[in-house]
Amino acid sequence: MKTAFPAILLAIGAYFGFVVAVGQFHGMPGLALGLPSGLIATLAAGCGVAGAIWFLFANDHVDSWRPPQILIGLALLCLGFGSYYGLFVAPPEQFMGEVQRIMYVHVPTAWNALLAMTLAFACAVIFLFNGDFKWDSRMEGAIETGVVLAFLLCCQGAIWAKPTWGVWWDWDPRLTTTAVLLFAFLGILALRKFVEDPARRAIWSAVATIIAYVDVPIVYFSVRWWNSLHQQQSNPGTVSKQFWLPLRLNAFGILFLMVAFIMLRARIASLRLKQEMAPPMAEIAELGEAV
């Protein structure tokens, strides 16, 4: 029951994400069931993300290493195939040439970084409402994974920007927003390290997460007014069919990897929390009374 529903969702996502894309790659458009390509992409992304998150919340407190292991296995499979298609099968882009191939990791990283931060925000809101510490552990996992992904995103962006724009860094809205987001969430991780009381740490970091997340759209729009150079966002209509498959494979691969990392990290956080909240050991307690 715990894995059945998420597995079905993931299967639907995988069908629309891959089977249909492979079909179109090899000239079998009938697999798409006549649906428009925008709806197919939405179904693939929506079912994939919903299935992965459902799986995360259903399995992250079980004392078994199996769920994250399965996810990491799936992730490696997706990333392996995605890298193969992206590097060797898909043709180079007309204007940017081989440099454009970084898109196959860059765009999925961006999606998943934003997803991890959104997950952290959702966990923070839920924690403030019901006070259950498992949401605190999940928030810690999501923030840390989001920080790692946002850092990777900045690095990949810089690697791509140097040959394309001629500079490592540019004050473009999405780049700047990612950097601000990265530093804001790093600050929250620092806050967590400096507060010993578990209850206060959980509440304060939840409050800080909500405040930082609300800032994201404001930063984005303010920087957009300030300066803009980043190329327009693509949508399924503007991305050629030959680029779909590696992009989606990598998106699912990084999604599974992210969910597995959040699971593992949330488990570590909840174990540490259990230890912090446990009553002191018997002999220390007696010593305390004697003093």
Binding site: G187, A190, L191, V207, D215, I218
Partner: protein, 219 residues
């Protein structure tokens, strides 16, 4: 209740006015130092004067904000305040308005320093005052909330800027742009859009931080 909380904060600030004087001197010194970072190029200094003003104000604000919960931390006074039969939000807004007032005063005080050092004067004082008021409101709302957290944590001096600086990027950007447009002229009529961005930032954070404050101070 809000009036009583505000009166308490303003009285506290008046009693510790030497500290505010020290923060002003700190801000003025940082403005002096920024000019050494650029060099004696009066044209460049004038061009970047708005940025320097707001950076000086931002650096000084971490000092005033970090100090603003000093009285509450002594003798567990915060717990006493929370025991009062009143809304916690009144305590927050009292402190936030007092901090806003103090930061705005600091900003107004730093303007003559900027004019003298960078030759960046303007006769449009009303607009400049409006920008300073809106910008410092953007600093004080999240700043007061974060100061309430960090003043109870270890390493408070490091933690407050670490949390606050990334957050107030939009407010800083809009304040600098708006101030610079007031000083250097606004041929494209861009000032209203930056003012509305600042107003939106203020509205969001003054309401959101008021809603979240009770989580931060109550156990």
């Amino acid at each position: 209740m809000l009036a009583a909380a505000l009166r308490k904060e303003l009285l506290l600030q008046w009693k510790t006015r030497t500290q505010m004087m020290a923060v002003f001197v700190f801000g003025a010194t940082s403005l002096l130092l920024f000019s050494f970072a650029v060099g004696p190029n009066s044209e460049a200094l004038r061009l970047y004067s708005a940025g320097f003003l707001w950076l000086g104000l931002l650096l000084s604000s971490t000092l005033t904000l970090a100090e603003s919960f000093q009285a509450e931390m002594e003798n567990r006074a915060l717990e006493g305040l929370l025991l009062l039969p009143s809304d916690v939000r009144a305590l927050y807004y009292g402190k936030a308005i007092a901090n806003w007032f103090q930061l705005a005063l600091l900003g107004v005080g730093l303007v003559p320093v900027m004019v003298v050092l960078y030759d960046a004067g303007t006769t449009d004082l009303l607009r400049l005052l409006a920008v300073i008021l809106l910008g410092t409101a953007g600093l004080s709302a999240p700043g007061t909330l974060y100061a309430a957290m960090t003043s109870q944590a270890r390493a408070k001096q490091t933690l407050l800027p670490l949390l606050l600086f990334p957050l107030i990027v939009p407010a800083l950007l809009a304040s600098v742009k708006a101030t610079s447009l007031v000083i250097l002229g606004d041929p494209m009529k861009q000032l209203p859009s930056w003012i509305s961005l600042l107003t939106a930032f203020d509205a969001i954070y003054w309401s959101l931080c008021g809603l979240l404050y009770h989580h931060v101070v109550e156990e």
